[in-house]
Symmetry: C2
Subunit: 275 residues, 2 copies
Amino acid sequence: MQRLRTRSSKKVNCSNDFQRAKAMTEQPKITLHWLDHSRSQRIVWLLEELNLEYTIKPYIRTGGPRAPPELKAVHPLGKAPVLVVEYADGKEKVIAESGHIIAFLIRNFDKESLLTPDNTDAFDEVEYYLHMCEGTLQPVLTFLLVLNTAASRAPWFVKPVISSFVTKVFELYNYKEIILCLDFLETKLGENAAKLTASSQNLFFVNNKLSGADIIFALPVGEICIIGDKLSHLVDKSKYPHLVRWAHEIRERPAYLRAMEKTGQYEKPKEQEQE
Amino acid sequence: MQRLRTRSSKKVNCSNDFQRAKAMTEQPKITLHWLDHSRSQRIVWLLEELNLEYTIKPYIRTGGPRAPPELKAVHPLGKAPVLVVEYADGKEKVIAESGHIIAFLIRNFDKESLLTPDNTDAFDEVEYYLHMCEGTLQPVLTFLLVLNTAASRAPWFVKPVISSFVTKVFELYNYKEIILCLDFLETKLGENAAKLTASSQNLFFVNNKLSGADIIFALPVGEICIIGDKLSHLVDKSKYPHLVRWAHEIRERPAYLRAMEKTGQYEKPKEQEQE
């Protein structure tokens, strides 16, 4: 467990007890139950963008792609991320599902409107992306991982048949869905790029302002499809210049880098990675 | 295309032009792009519960489980349901993703607070279920359908190997996830059942008041896992008395029945069904 302290957009040294006590009265206690190589990391990024004080409770995968059973004590479905918010009156809220966690944090803790949409249309658009990411894009990627893992464990004498079947499923279903989503998002970012008024401005999914949409897409679009190389046979990056630009821009944000730094100590070596 | 008219909880005969014109000035024009045997039907149910005036634009599957390509003209991802809302000032909003459509409709059109949560905790709980249903439960069910369809099309000489592989994937992954979700939801409804104060009251997921949670679960929990027989080898209904009660209670609601009646004409015969 690690206590993290960042109350303003600049790093604040909270070693002063008075300062820390003051900060703690300002916001409920937030604990993020975090799992390595999971959907959890972007929540750390969001907590950093919101300049919140929070604690990370790390869980490490040990036996394959499944989350460790201890997570079921936090939430019955046993998945990560899970956010636990403890209020001053003793009330505790357990918040699960990435899209819901992101919306909840922004709704309740974005006092400076850093990520809050500027109008109703933008709010609706962000809500759409939160649902679309976890309900349409991410399941197709998870399905790839589950099927690839299962195929890799098939006995040698049936492996060629299984591999050929799995490849066919991917070609007929998963790959088409992934490209459909990426094409759609590239078009959207292309439209947004045309609206940027200064070359120094950054590209974001909704109204060129950082929002929950950028946070949620950071994993499946940014890390998996654009930055990572596991789908390089499928994703021709030259077709997605705006997604590439966006993925690199978000990774350079101070909050993103702080999030990576804070969880880096828990990550397993790359060769055991599970997404 | 079919014009449907239900402005109050009782059926209203809007054959009177004045009445209809009045109704149209009260709400924007709502069109639901609806696909047979898809996630669309529960949106019809919600529109009926909200007593809204709306038009259904039906699409019928013709070549297997995929949605017809015309849907891409409505929304680039080409899925159903999609809601199109046309406002009096000419503005048009295209709303996709079931969870988002449900939240959007309740947020904007539930003037009598029929489905609006009574407090912030209930609101957060409904939001959680909207995300959990589409981000956790539904993908595992969709994955079952995709893999079963692909396996059924394998050449006869590899079919036994493929069937055995697919069954193993289901046992190791999908079935566990489905049971985990059903157990979790059964526990929740069991707690709610204990809070009912009159035997005549109905059981709902959040505070025993109808909400977006009941609407979203109507398909994967109600129709697929509890009412339907495709998963009867997996789902022992005697273990889920509260889910069974809830699934039957929602199906008896007048709005649910009206929704079924209104779309029944578009459904293909049962033997060609795709979920």
